[in-house]
């Protein structure tokens, strides 16, 4: 389907696809197996200017928006959802600075991110604060011209690899979610350490670790916006980042579908290619339709975000909910089309199925997305 993207966006998509095909596909299985972080690929993405597609030109970016970021994430995910997350996770860590940072903060951090010299990470989740993000226990105590951070963040994407971390911590426990604040913490800051690398079901090329703060001193100028804005910043960040997760899901689904279609055309049973069976054809038809529908919703949502719409929470949640469910369904069906081969790790499709699962969980589970969608629907209907 033609989504009438701009000439520049076409260029971005084509370059991301070329890198995915020529550089990522050949190494995807290796990084999945070894769980190494794919720095050589990050370097290629950096040199190709892809890290800057959604950042303003005055900070070294290319002046595009969330749709541009989605196009890159989708294409990279088509080859490997885990490697793509090094890119997308940087976007997530960057958005709080882009959306709510001061001019000084943007000038200081965005150019290195746009150039791919530094990766970023976003730290909100804790052991006892997952869906209930408001119950974070990490604290930030102000002392003179600095904040002292204490606490442990869990399952942080890009942890250890990234240089720039945006961290949500409580500056006033008595105020609950209204007492949360957002900080920029640079890797190497005294009192900041990384926990062991998690072993995951999928997206294994992505680094997931704890980030531990022990009397970690952060300059007061690294506070994003003002005290008490942390939760709002996190939610606004998710509104813009969820289309990115949805794009990752679309890419994973498309990648699995590409393999399934190719396999169905070449796998011979009962003396004919299995693509000649209606049972397979109908599966392929459903998969293709679902992927296209998900893509259409993701692009429409990304365009709405880029238009500067005031509230995109409902649409972003819808895009992530729908696309992640499609990814799970389509990758499962791709394994089914491959039959026994699909279950084997020598073949590429089981990885897509493992990678797809996380898209229904992180940056808000599918259940939380439904909460957001329903809450916004009800709110809108009251206003009418």
């Amino acid at each position: 389907m033609d989504y009438l993207i701009t000439e520049q966006q076409t260029m971005i998509r084509d370059l991301a696809r070329k890198i995915a095909d020529e550089k990522i596909k050949p190494v995807a299985a290796h990084y999945d197996e070894t769980e190494e972080f794919a720095w050589p690929i990050m370097k290629i993405l950096a040199e190709s200017d892809l890290f800057g597609v959604y950042l303003p030109e005055q900070y070294g970016g290319l002046g595009g928006g969330i749709l541009d970021m989605c196009l890159v994430t989708e294409e990279l995910s088509r080859a490997c959802g885990g490697i793509a997350l090094g890119y997308a996770g940087t976007g997530l860590g960057t958005l709080p600075i882009l959306l709510h940072g001061s001019e000084e903060q943007k000038k200081k951090y965005l150019p290195d991110i746009a150039a791919g010299k530094k990766l970023a990470a976003f730290c909100i989740t804790e052991a006892e604060a997952g869906s209930d993000a408001g119950s974070i226990k990490t604290t930030a105590r102000k002392e003179g011209d600095k904040y002292i951070l204490n606490g442990t963040k869990q399952w942080i994407t890009n942890a250890g690899e990234a240089d720039i971390y945006t961290v949500i911590a409580s500056t006033d426990k008595t105020k609950g979610v209204r007492g949360a604040s957002a900080f920029i913490v640079e890797k190497g800051t005294k009192g900041m350490e990384f926990g062991k690398k998690e072993k995951k079901m999928g997206i294994r090329a992505s680094a997931t670790r704890e980030v531990i703060f022990t009397d970690c001193e952060v300059p007061a100028e690294n506070l994003i916006s003002r005290e008490g804005m942390g939760f709002i910043i996190a939610m606004k960040t998710f509104d813009c980042s969820r289309p990115g997760v949805a794009a990752q899901a679309v890419g994973i689904a498309q990648g699995a579908l590409d393999h399934a279609l190719e396999y169905a055309r070449t796998r011979v049973q009962f003396d004919v290619p299995i693509s000649s069976f209606q049972a397979i054809q109908h599966m392929l038809a459903d998969m293709g339709t679902q992927v296209e529908a998900a893509r259409a919703l993701v692009y429409a949502t990304a365009r709405m975000v880029d238009s500067g719409a005031k509230s995109v929470a409902k649409e972003s949640a819808m895009a992530k909910l729908f696309a992640s469910d499609v990814a799970m369904k389509v990758t499962t069906d791709a394994v089914q089309i491959f039959g026994g081969y699909g279950y084997m790790r020598d073949y590429p499709v089981e990885k897509y199925m493992r990678d797809a699962k996380i898209t229904q969980i992180y940056e808000g589970t599918s259940q939380i997305q439904r909460n957001v969608i329903a809450a916004n629907m009800i709110k809108e209907s009251i206003k009418k």
């Binding site: 260029m11 971005i12 890198i19 020529e22 290629i44 040199e47 190709s48 200017d49 597609v53």
Partner: protein
């Protein structure tokens, strides 16, 4: 440092088809790409620029659509592009082609080093690079796999041989042809692609490069291609077994029969 890199547009296929009547390449319906060996020359030119400063000018001779190859070279880091294109160039062999490119290089003027791929994937002659250096009367080193040192006056390079490599020192300006071992070409960058889109390559005709008309195209080409064919593969030799004395006699008989 002023670097010139010469490239050629070739059909994007390893299965090159030859017109049986004219003995020339069939280009219809085949997508054109930068000659794969030239991609290494472009990469090395851009790396030299990054190492020593200066600029990279990419040069090609070909039909108007060869401009696409020049734009691709710009997206990979080249700064300026020159297309020499004229109907008078039609039918050029490697001699006339290298004469024409040398004339264009003289017009570009100030240069320190010229880089070429070791050969083109369609013609496979490996003659144009050396031909340019002959026309310009500058030193050449072929099959370069590494530029060890380079200064304003001279370069030390590793020249690949079948057994290993030679280290060759040459004064500048010089011409190098490079092999694929020299580097791994980078991916284009988005900023490069955008620069390529708006770039305006210089377009020079035979008159612009002040070429001698008699030295151009078919008239300037001493080579006549009579026939192009794939040589018959040689069969494996015969191994004689048995007593040394017996097989020596047998071998002598065989050699006598073959009238060597």
């Amino acid at each position: 440092m002023n670097i010139i890199v010469c490239i050629k547009q070739v059909p994007n296929t390893t299965d090159v088809r030859i017109d049986p009547v004219t003995n020339t390449l069939i280009r219809d319906g085949v997508e054109s790409v930068i000659n794969p060996f030239d991609a290494y020359a472009i990469e090395e030119a851009v790396r030299l620029k990054e190492r020593c400063g200066g600029k990279v000018t990419v040069l090609t001779m070909g039909p108007p659509q060869a401009e696409n190859a020049l734009r691709e070279a710009i997206s990979l880091g080249c700064d300026e592009a020159v297309l020499v294109s004229d109907r008078k160039f039609a039918g050029s062999d490697t001699w006339a082609t290298s004469y024409t490119l040398a004339a264009a290089i003289r017009k570009i003027g100030d240069y320190d080093i010229i880089l070429c791929g070791k050969q083109a994937s369609d013609g496979d002659t490996a003659q144009v690079g050396p031909g340019i250096s002959a026309h310009l009367d500058i030193p050449q080193v072929t099959y370069v796999k590494k530029i060890e040192e380079i200064s304003a006056e001279k370069a030390a390079v590793e020249r690949m041989t079948e057994e290993g490599y030679d280290v060759v020192e040459t004064p500048l300006p010089c011409l190098l042809t490079v092999v694929k071992e020299i580097n791994t070409p980078r991916m284009p960058s988005l900023k490069g692609l955008m620069r390529a889109k708006s770039a305006k390559p210089f377009k020079w005709t035979a008159d612009d490069i002040e070429a001698d008309p008699a030295a151009l195209g078919l008239d300037g080409s001493p080579t006549r291609v009579i026939k192009i064919f794939t040589p018959v593969q040689r069969k494996g030799g015969e191994i004689l077994k048995g007593d040394t004395g017996d097989i020596s006699k047998e071998l002598a008989e065989l050699l006598k029969d073959m009238v060597i």
